[in-house]
């Protein structure tokens, strides 16, 4: 029982990551109809926003340490961040410690700007081109973005820890009356879960309850008619693209303490996020979120030792197997709309 509760918890956490990544993708892919292979790269750039900010905050000057030498026998130099000089050592250290949450503020304008530039400079010329061309151009863009990051940050993962206040884990087992230590969960992952819920809720509310959102939804359904009504749908789509990029970026920022970011993390998530969006159904935001959670939970169950003993290797294929079963039983995924990306 406790093992199952634990895996449900795990699945919800994984699912929140999947849903958050898929959300941005489905805004672009499921609604604007653009197959955006650069979406993973946006997620990755978000993560590197966090890395960049923490590097900026820890910009240092060298101070020689008395009496110690480095590996070549030269005097040992110690780095002292400038921020210590400005705010004092205690405050400075606290700011560096909190660099990941602070990166949210840094990442939003950066990602929105990247989204705008991408849409205006490139994607808008591809709305009417075949999907194949969109794939080629966005894949090319994804490679270019990746290589730029690799050039400046290397290929090795870069540790980006959460603030010290969030290290360690919370003991659900003790609260629920199980033995202590049976159901533990890291604080940062709980933060990630809450963060994902807030972002997903905000995007829904925005599309559902604002005039802007209403127009965008109308535009998704019938772009031409909305245009004929004299509404500048293009501008709104640009803004939607910016929002989608920001959502992807924020998913990346908050993900950094969970796994150290590296330049190809976007490609690792790309295929998965496409599967999530399609299983959820094209053009459906709730579908993408639902599919994210469903696949997250099932993946967690498949990784249990007891399951693997019966079905070795099931953890390797579970997501794809579930995707096949769902797409065969429900032709348009869980909640897909008719006619979207079916040609």
């Amino acid at each position: 029982m406790d093992a199952i509760i634990l895996q449900i918890l795990n699945g919800l956490d994984k699912g929140s990551a999947y849903a958050l990544i898929a959300l941005g993708l489905t805004l672009i892919f499921g609604t604007l109809g653009v197959v955006n292979f650069a979406h993973g790269a946006l997620f990755m750039i978000g993560a590197f926003c966090a890395v960049t900010l923490s590097r900026l905050l820890s910009l240092s000057h060298e101070v020689a340490v008395e009496g110690e030498v480095d590996f070549l026998g030269n005097p040992m130099m110690k780095d002292v961040p400038y921020i210590y000089d400005i705010f004092g050592e205690a405050t400075g250290a606290a700011i560096i410690d909190w660099s990941v949450p602070l990166s949210i503020l840094f990442a939003i304008p950066v990602m929105v700007a990247i989204g705008f530039i991408m849409e205006r400079g490139l994607i808008q010329h591809f709305y009417k081109r075949p999907h194949a061309d969109q794939i080629l151009v966005t894949f090319g863009l994804a490679i270019v973005l990746q290589e730029i990051i690799k050039y400046f940050y290397g290929a090795n993962p870069i540790p980006t820890p959460a603030p010290a206040a969030f290290t360690g884990s919370f003991d659900f087992g003790a609260v629920l009356g199980f033995d202590p230590n049976t159901i533990i969960y890291p604080y940062w992952r709980l933060v990630y879960f809450a963060f994902a819920a807030i972002i997903i809720g905000a995007v829904f509310a925005f599309l559902q309850f604002t005039t802007f959102g209403m127009v965008v939804r109308a535009g998704m359904a019938d772009r031409e008619t909305v245009g004929l009504l004299g509404i500048n749908i293009d501008k709104r789509f640009t803004i939607m693209f910016g929002i989608a990029a920001a959502v992807a970026g924020l998913a990346g920022v908050m993900y950094t303490p969970i796994n150290s970011p590296n330049y190809h993390m976007g490609m690792d998530f790309l295929v998965l996020s496409f599967v999530v969006v399609v299983v959820g159904g094209m053009g459906s935001l709730p579908g993408a979120v639902l599919a994210g959670f469903l696949l997250g939970v099932l993946e967690s169950f498949a990784s249990m030792g007891a399951v693997l003993e019966v079905l070795p290797g099931i953890n390797q294929i579970i997501i794809y197997l579930v995707a096949i079963v769902i797409l065969l039983t429900r032709p348009r995924g869980l909640m897909g709309r008719k006619g979207v990306m079916e040609e």
Binding site: A3, L72, T167, S169, N181, I184, R189, S260, D268, F269
Partner: protein
């Protein structure tokens, strides 16, 4: 490039026909001097092929390997401070290239994919005339390229490859490995683990679901169980996994008090980060502190995992903080040239390049079979790992293995591991037959 000749394969066929007629000589006698083998150097230069990952997850490791090779070439050609040539027990190398020929090199990208690695190696052999291929950062690539070199008739000096298979079931006469392997990791680690963590531990293994993972789990399990440990579970994780939470979370429920992460590269960085995130190391199980073990460490991985490696045991082939003359000489010349200390991948690649050059000098020929003879059962010292033997039966180096631990108070971004023990070679030596496989006979090509 001679005029209108049928190249090596044609000759080999003739050889085979002669063999069938009972006229054949042992292959290595067929080739003499500087002809009769693949890519025999004709001018005053000799070309080596450095095949390392330059894209993909191991690109940084590959970059370090390439730095080491460039340094080795510089030293072989008499430049720089000579590096390990000064401390190497064999004094055949003169600093005038190899056999008086200036060393040149070509580079390629393995992408850590066996297909791409073979394509790159073949282009070096077919287009650039490379006489030896070296490098790589995974066992899949090492085995694939080694098989290619056997077929093409050039020497393969493996880079970083840790699976038992490379010199075990997939060993080849033309392939040589300086790096240590899973078996040695297990044998070196187990006693240290037992003395630090006690003999009645319950271990939980997370194993990368591919060959290297299997051999490593097997090695660590066998040697720790021999010390009295119990293995409560061993769960396989997909190579493409990035978030290991669903594998880490059940560990505490299982009653295990040690977690062994048979992961490498990005897998290891992520699984260790996740395990520490779950607070496993702060827990008490069975009245003991919960511990994590990483059988194969590298400095780049330690860097990726950051503060999470502190106090965690593992094994490594070499570390720059070693204080013997060879290690000091290598760290000095590498550090002077590049500004930071070398990784173990850089060390093994540099040493492999020098060992190859030295073997050629001692053999007096670039012929792969002559080189193989010279490396076979070759004993040397002064390369940073103490006295070392290149065993003839499987072309595996036998030397001391380092047991290391993540450093609690690193003084720089390179000072992440501290050496706990140098396990003597006698403790990690095994019988050459235990992994099966057939070495075959050396192939000089044509």
């Amino acid at each position: 490039m001679s005029n209108s000749n049928f190249t090596r394969r044609g000759l080999i066929k003739t050889g085979a026909v002669a063999g069938a007629a009972g006229l054949s000589l042992p292959t290595y006698l067929r080739a003499d001097g500087h002809s009769g083998f693949t890519n025999a150097p004709t001018g005053d230069t000799v070309t080596l092929g450095f095949n390392v990952p330059q894209s993909g997850p191991y690109a940084d490791e590959g970059a370090d390997e390439l730095r080491a090779y460039e340094l080795a070439v510089e030293h072989l050609n008499g430049g720089g401070d000579g590096g390990l040539m000064n401390t190497f027990s064999s004094k055949a190398l003169q600093g005038n290239g190899i056999l008086g020929k200036k060393v040149e090199y070509v580079t390629g990208d393995t992408q850590t994919k066996s297909d791409a690695a073979r394509a790159s190696a073949r282009s070096m052999i077919e287009k650039d005339g490379a006489i030896m291929i070296t490098g790589g950062s995974s066992s899949g690539v090492a085995v694939a390229v080694q098989a290619l070199c056997q077929e093409a008739g050039v020497i393969f000096m493996a880079g970083l490859t840790h699976s038992n298979d490379t010199t075990g079931k997939d060993k080849k006469a033309n392939g040589f490995r300086h790096f240590f392997n899973s078996y040695m990791s297990g044998a070196a680690l187990a006693p240290i683990l037992a003395s630090n963590y006690g003999k009645d531990r319950k271990a939980y293994h997370l194993t990368a679901d591919y060959n290297w993972g299997y051999t490593t789990e097997e090695a660590v399990r066998t040697s720790t169980e021999a010390m009295g440990w119990e293995t409560v579970a061993a769960v396989k994780t997909p190579l493409t996994q990035t978030d290991f939470s669903s594998y880490i979370a059940p560990v505490l429920q299982s009653g295990a008090d040690v977690l062994v992460l048979n992961h490498y590269g990005g897998n290891m960085v992520n699984s260790l980060t996740n395990a520490v995130q779950f607070g496993l190391r702060d827990k008490q199980v069975n009245g003991k502190n919960f511990e994590i073990v990483v059988p194969l460490y590298s400095r780049l991985m330690a860097k990726g995992a950051g503060a999470n490696v502190k106090g965690i045991f593992g094994s490594t082939n070499w570390h720059w903080s070693l204080q013997d003359d060879g290690s000091k000489a290598f760290v000095k010349s590498f550090g002077t040239k590049y500004g930071f200390p070398p990784s173990q991948a850089a060390h093994t690649c540099y040493v492999q390049a020098l060992l190859y050059a030295d073997a050629v000098e001692r053999a007096g020929s670039f012929n792969p079979c002559a080189v193989g003879e010279a490396l076979k059962d070759f004993e040397f010292d002064g390369m940073g790992n103490g006295p070392t033997l290149y065993r003839g039966e499987d072309h595996q180096c036998f030397k001391d293995v380092l047991v290391v631990k993540g450093k609690e108070n690193p003084t720089s971004e390179f000072d992440l591991l501290e050496i706990v023990e140098i396990t003597p070679v006698s403790q990690v030596t095994y019988d050459a037959g235990i992994f099966g496989g057939e070495l075959g006979v050396c192939n000089p090509g044509a």
